[in-house]
Symmetry: C2
Subunit: 329 residues, 2 copies
């Protein structure tokens, strides 16, 4: 039987095919997808949050590193993660996809399965989108809207001198997973590859951190070195990190040892972990540390300031964004 | 002097270059672009509206038919038009652009000039976006958010038997302008080409129509034949249109005569006019017809129903979406 392609059904046929199971939080919906715009209602006393994120075939993924299901899941998760980084919950998602006409329809079906799975898990309404042709390759753009109590969004610019710098979960797993996939070792390291292919947005932790009084928050999309530099610059503070404290999973350490690499390179320069890093007062940190997987990795030492300094093996060095080249031992 | 390209400055250099003059409605802004998400606040008693629209080089525009300024203006306008079609005002806009590395930076600058011009005119905040590479061609995705008084969004599904069907402004100008551009006649028909290159979203008319009690509303993005069929299907009604009444500009008639074409083909099958069409009760129509450029073109004749019927030269025919093949005379 001939495999059906995108061109065989056209734009409107494709839309009919994918338009089901879009609403996972009906109480917020006023007008669903299919009209010129979707309409939703958030409760009084909330601010609106918005962010957009794109995945390009050949740049953010290849058919070797991600299945179509993974691409859909990852696209939703990377967008929702930006809501987590503001202490917000995700509410709605719209999608624009540019597809080559010779793409198998089954690819699109599995992509939507992944997208839907992530939307269902985090109770986010799929509010519509746009389907266009692409002259080459897949380009997938998601835009997420969220809500956060008025005036309570956690920015990256609120870090205060004396704050604890924290990281949730572990860092570097996604980059290590990508390394394994690209070196044909993916099957041996499933706990790492899943972190790259199907990352989880830390929305519940973002909300807990907001309620606990976190002063600054970023999601780890571009590697810890860049996230910390963004917080330092936006907040006008100097950060001091003890690299030995950066939380690394057993699997990251094991793969690094096997391939003779420094696991911190993945954590600091890698990105796409979609865990959270930020700052909070020491007393608030003590209150929440038992409630969630969170590790203290340093301190906000100076305001005004702008730099990130890291300690390792008794040496103190300036850490630039994606500038980690591991110290001499 | 060597022309600077996107690759010469990279993603973060590009972002620094374009991050200015983003906020045209500061009273709604809480956290501006540059953080993980932007935060905005709409007044109590409003619903949120969202829509997304993409332009792909080679499909929606070419360097022959649109300048970079035009592409920016058109992208914003086509998104804002979806808010007009809901009777909403546009509030915020986020943008995702996938650019080939060999694109001149001056292209990006002029593109943002056009985008900003449209945002400034309609007082829409640019709330951020995402910049990625593209393996080939430009892909530009905008997402707009808007607001409309609670429960007052005008959908395409509310048409009622006995309603007047109306069209604002004139239809077919954009398609005629594209025809002129593609046939090297653009300079002769500036009133048409501007409608293709820099369309205006009819936000003020959409709001007036909502307040006047319009029952159904669509923007003319895909040609009148498709818009009417969408209204008929979504509302479960039968529409009857008098084609002689479809408002055509003098320029559309003149160009059609010159090139021996039926000007209605542009109005019915063309699209991208971004005027509005919809239905309203006869008494409400009489009240508003002096306040705005609006033309009655037919009636909602039957509920339940699903089809669109057109009269021309005394004949009645079913009009399918993009199915206008002009009648025998």
């Amino acid at each position: 039987m001939k495999q059906l392609l995108v061109d065989d059904v056209g734009e409107f046929g494709l839309i009919r095919r994918i338009m089901h199971d879009f609403i996972f939080r009906p109480e917020l919906l006023v007008v669903g997808p299919g009209d010129d715009g979707a309409v939703y209602r958030t409760p009084g006393g909330y601010d609106q949050v918005i962010s957009t994120d794109t995945m390009v075939e050949g740049i953010h993924f290849t058919r070797k590193t991600m299945s179509p299901f993974d691409v859909g899941y990852h696209l939703a998760a990377s967008n929702f993660s930006d809501m987590a980084a503001m202490g917000a919950e995700a509410v709605g998602f719209v999608l624009s996809i540019a597809l080559p006409g010779d793409l198998p329809l089954s690819w699109v079906d599995r992509f939507y399965d992944g997208l839907r799975a992530c939307c269902r898990k985090y109770r986010v309404n799929l509010l519509g989108g746009d389907v266009t042709g692409s002259t080459k390759g897949l380009i997938l753009t998601g835009t997420v809207t969220g809500m956060v109590p008025e005036g309570k969004a956690v920015t990256r610019s609120g870090a205060r001198q004396g704050d604890i710098i924290f990281v949730t979960g572990t860092a570097g797993d996604s980059a290590a997973g990508l390394y394994a996939l690209l070196h044909d070792m993916g099957e041996e390291w499933p706990s790492l590859t899943v972190r790259h292919q199907r990352p989880e947005p830390q929305i519940p932790l973002g909300i807990l951190l907001r309620k606990a009084g976190a002063h600054a928050l970023n999601d780890i999309s571009d590697g810890l070195s860049r996230e910390w530099n963004e917080i330092a610059k936006a907040s006008g503070v100097e950060l001091e990190i003890e690299l030995e404290k950066v939380p690394l999973s057993e699997a990251v350490r094991a793969l690094a040892e096997r391939v003779h690499r420094d696991p911190l390179t993945w954590a600091l320069n890698g990105g796409e972990d979609y865990q959270l890093t930020g700052t909070i007062s020491p007393s608030d940190f003590d209150t929440i540390k038992k409630e969630m997987p969170i590790t203290p990795v340093g301190r906000v030492v100076k305001k005004p300031g702008t730099g990130v300094y890291v300690w390792r093996h008794g040496q103190r060095r300036l850490l630039q964004a994606k500038g980690f080249d591991h110290f001499e031992k």
